[in-house]
């Protein structure tokens, strides 16, 4: 079942354009969103969250258009844009208490489990945390309200290999529960480990949106890893 549908998304900036991006996200699947820096990943994600207004295109979740159903849809979405970059001097306990009050589905048990798993101290403020720990705070907030879809912008960057591995295991566990996970990353080994589908964009254009195996069959060459395929594709487009 499609949890999210993105249709013909376009956004023009003076020096960059996102052109006609369309893809679907299905429940119980992990989708990796790849492309080099400046390819349009964050713009796409921001459009998907109504932080940036697309010039054209439609975005819907759970069969409902985002426009007009923003509050209801955001109750069912979890979002993390890498490190926590807000309220640097407020205690995590205060940030969590306030955030929690906005979600009808907030799960205190899950929140405590992730606090323990991520080894987070509620009395600390974001300014006292390392970059990796800040990523975990954001993930904790995104994971604690039983989101049906997680939209994560670079969730693994800044994490140590152990934490990254733990996080990927959490992704797999959530996927088994039916949660859709959509995450952008530069770390292709993360995708090799857990992604079911790959969405690849280059210079604001969608190059591929398909199952990982299909992606490797169509765009990869024999014996190549996902990273090698990506590097080759990026190099060939630069040489053109």
């Amino acid at each position: 079942m499609n949890i999210a549908e993105i249709r013909n998304l376009s956004k023009k900036y003076p020096a960059f354009s996102l052109k006609d991006i369309s893809f679907n996200l299905k429940n119980g699947r992990i989708t990796g969103f790849i492309g080099r820096n400046g390819a349009g990943k964050t713009t796409t994600i921001k459009c998907m969250l109504n932080l940036v207004h697309p010039d054209s295109g439609e975005i819907s979740y759970f069969g409902l258009p985002l426009k007009g159903n923003e509050s209801e849809i955001k109750q069912r979405i979890g979002y993390s844009n890498g490190t926590i970059n807000y309220y640097p001097r407020k205690k995590l306990s205060d940030i969590i208490a306030v955030t929690k009050s906005f979600y009808s589905n907030w799960d205190d048990t899950a929140c405590h489990e992730y606090l323990k798993l991520f080894n987070l101290d509620l009395n600390k403020t974001p300014s006292e945390l390392s970059e990796g720990m800040k990523v975990k705070v954001n993930l904790l907030l995104a994971l604690s309200h039983r989101a049906e879809i997680l939209i994560l912008d670079e969730p693994t960057s800044g994490l140590d290999p152990f934490s990254r591995n733990e996080l990927l295991e959490i992704f797999i566990m959530l996927k088994e529960r039916g949660t859709a996970i959509f995450f952008s990353t530069h770390i292709t080994s993360d995708l090799e480990k857990c992604a079911d589908d790959i969405i690849y964009i280059h210079d604001g254009k969608l190059i591929a949106a398909m199952q990982k195996e299909e992606f490797m069959k169509e765009l990869g060459q024999s014996g190549e890893t996902l990273e090698e395929t990506m590097l080759r594709l990026e190099r060939s487009s630069r040489d053109v």
Binding site: N50, L51, H53, N85, D94, S101, F102
Partner: protein
Amino acid sequence: MYKLLRKELKLSASPLSYLFIAFGLMTLLPGYPILVGAFFISFGIFQSFQTAREANDIQYSALLPISKADVVRSKFAFSIFIEMCGFSVMTIMTVLRMTVLADSAVYRNNALMNANLIFLGFALLIFGCFNAIFICGFFKTAYYYGKPFVLYILVAFIIIGIAETLHHIPGLEAVNAFGFDNISLQLAGLISGAALYVLFTLIALKKSIKRFEVVDL
């Protein structure tokens, strides 16, 4: 709305916003342009807008399961809350000056504006201008606040200047009424200020929602 206000009070607000409510006590200062107290209270609210921007508050709020209009409403709710706290302090001090201190020599021999209901009307007008000029101007970008605040300072001090001048104009001495003198004129001043406050705030809220809706974060 309670959740939004709680978020503002707990996470976004600068302690100075609360501290500056005490500037309402300036109403008791003799020989001082007491309307400046209203400006200082709004200056405290401005500090919260600064703190909130440094803390990426708008982005955090926009990601909560609320509409973008609610993000704007929360800023207005907080500002109105602080304004009303400050206004309450000013009102209590004004009532003191209108009753037990009505015949006090330091106030009677005061060349500047007297604390009466007209003064309170002007204070509300200043708060209304803060909402209409500063907050509404801020939501044009949800980031830049310098220009709208400078514009607000200009307008606020023009209003203070007018309020301080009015009672020196022949025929308008009644504006500076002591105690309950000219009470209907005083009431008319207060009601006019309150009406303008409500009008300016409602227009500012509507316009800010419209502006913020098209801002890319």
